[in-house]
Amino acid sequence: MSVSAPARLDARTLLGPRHWARVEGWGMAVSALGHLVRPRDIDELRALFAFARETGTPVTLRGGGRSYGDAAIGQGCLILDLTAMNRILSWDPETGIVDAEPGVTIEQLWKRIVPDGWWPAVVSGTMFTTMGGCAAMNIHGKNNYRVGPFGDQVLEFDLLLPNGELLTCDRERHADLFHAAIGGFGMLGCFTRIRLRTKKVHSGNLAIEAFPTTSIPHMIEEFEDRVPDADYLVGWIDCIAGGRSSGRGIVHRADYLREGVDPVPRESLVLRAQELPSKVFGLPKSLLWWPLGLFINDTGMRAVNAAKFHAGRLLPVGAVYPQAHAAFAFLLDYVPNWKWAYKPGGLIQYQSFIPRANAARTFETLLRMSRKAGLPAYLGVFKKHRPDPFLLTHAVDGYSLALDYRVTAGNREALWRLCHRMDEVVLAAGGRFYFAKDLTLRSRTAARFLPRENLDTFVALKHRCDPGNVLQTDLSRRLFASHFADTGQQDP
């Protein structure tokens, strides 16, 4: 091997047993065997790209591994786990601007900036995603309709192309690449530095309000009423209840406290005030996934959903209570490893984004189709979105519904068939999909939901930045194998 990898990374062993590893999609429904390496800096990353090109080994970029499906796994690939490149390079508490390496997690970020009175403007439902992953997937939060996706908070980034070239991109320099690499699911290059703006907050708490809704149209009405002034809106939907209860749910609204409302912001802007409780009902939370598993079946979830809905109805109307940012934002982290309750088959999430005019009808149809197929979703999460300027964006001027399905050896085939039928309904409604969640789309569907022109532009950029198709994932092979095929061109 002519590659001179840094001493720690011995090129002779990169493909040997020392680096064999099985990596899983977060939903545990899919995994891949590859060669796992954790580069620590750009030099190592560059050497690994060179090694990959010389040996013809495809490369998969992986951050926190929180994508539900196959977006961060690659069978037989050199899997570059970027979590060791996790330095916060600079933080300015005056401007709220941060420079971070791609492996910095949202947890690291908020813990660093909260004491200075700042909060990440866009976060995922878990704090264990990384900056690189958030940018590559262009994640959104419960405030997507208000502040846009993660990419809208990015001021600039450095992108390392597979040929070793490092480009600094922003809305003016390499603007095409800026708008394509964000949301480009790791296909164009590896982020090595991301400059991000954050949000000034005047308290460690949000003001929360919860109210029940009886149907999806009702939920949309409630959202629309509050959109002009609510900072965060998220809906939970009971996807199992049928008949007149179909689509019932609970909406949570959260608002930042304006300056002066919290008399002593310092008290809630400390890490201690933000940390999630370690016990629930007196039980250590680390054990909770196990009893939770007893409910992960149709009967159990029907009961849990009904109890949740009726408990929500007991809340006094208009009651507003304070909740720490972290507790509101990171619901998925509340019970550690809750996904283990879905073992052994794991779970998938089917999230579709539907223009406003078609949203209610389409989501009602999806819920009905699921119930009719005997495959009810155990969790439904409803959010509002707005369009953004990124090439492969999943966002539309409308709503999304994220549906969690348990996967078993017995239902897998039927579940995939159901998803394919639902794809047609979503496409007919002008809907879109989100690569961070997907595991079931087919290539012909992917080519249809993305505007033709956007996809063509992206493919052209892929051929320009990565002509050898070095960067691959099982998702890219599943959906874009023919689009991204090696062009045969030599790297510049």
Binding site: T13, G16, P17, R18, W20, A21, R22, E24, S31, L33, G34, H35, L36, Q75, G76
Partner: protein, 250 residues
């Protein structure tokens, strides 16, 4: 990228239980790497395997398990040569004769080094790989002697008792990664190790022990006494109060 199925490393495969288990695994279609100090004895086991109908040829790696520093590179080389790995069995063990009045550090040290430290060196490598692969089986040949501090051979009892604790720790550590860790606790088995010790209670042949061990590896059990009756006997012996135990002379 595809790893070959049914690949195993047997450490201590040149004689006794290790050799017998290796022959039985080979008969069941496993691809084997045989590790032990004595090359000739290993070659003999490999030759036996080559004569078994349908068995894959076994690879042979001479190695002294007390050369701990060699283990990581050798482990990698073997896994690479095999093209996959699903099972690592540590069967190396020594039990020098220790007289009733003898307190010999060199002998005790040899037992701890071969039985325990060698096992830790090898199984740590296996643990690291299997945790990454999210699957695999790790097994160690312990002994009923590890269940109680008997008056004979304190060093041997210690090495076997510590082995069991180490394996239990690995098991608890690796369970979330879908890795099985099996502790095998044979009673007396007719092997070169027990030669000359005379008639021992419930002694079985190495072949019979191997049959039961391979069956245990295929089951979902984590601690297996061989033969099973030792599970009952040791349950009783473990519960004998100390003041009584020291008077029993066992």
């Amino acid at each position: 990228m595809k790893l070959r199925k049914k690949c195993a490393i047997v450490v201590g495969a040149s004689s006794g239980i290790g050799a017998a288990v290796a022959r039985r695994l080979a008969r069941a279609g496993w691809h084997l790497a045989l590790v032990a100090r004595r090359q000739e004895a290993l070659n003999q086991v490999a030759a036996d395997i080559a004569r078994l109908p349908g068995a894959h040829p076994a690879l042979v790696y001479p190695h002294d398990v007390t050369n701990y520093d060699e283990v990581p590179a050798l482990f990698d080389r073997i896994a690479d040569d095999l093209g996959g790995l699903e099972l690592v069995l540590y069967a190396s063990g020594v039990m020098p004769d220790v007289g009733p009045e003898e307190f010999d550090f060199a002998k005790d040290r040899a037992m701890v080094e071969v039985n325990l430290l060698g096992m830790i060196a090898w199984l740590n490598q296996a643990a690291d790989l299997f945790a990454r692969l999210e699957g695999g089986t790790i097994a160690g040949i312990g002994s009923v002697a590890g269940d109680r501090g008997r008056r004979d051979r304190p060093g041997y009892n210690t090495s076997k008792g510590a082995q069991a604790i180490f394996l239990e720790s690995l098991r608890n550590r690796l369970a979330p990664r879908n890795v099985r860790v099996v502790t095998i606790k044979p009673g007396p088995v007719a092997t070169p190790m027990t030669e000359g010790l005379g008639q021992m209670p419930f002694m079985i042949s190495a072949n019979e022990a191997a049959r039961q061990i391979v069956r245990a590896l295929e089951s979902s059990r984590s601690t297996v006494y061989v033969p099973h009756r030792w599970a009952v006997i040791m349950l009783v012996i473990r519960h004998i109060p100390s003041f009584l135990f020291r008077r029993l002379g066992i």
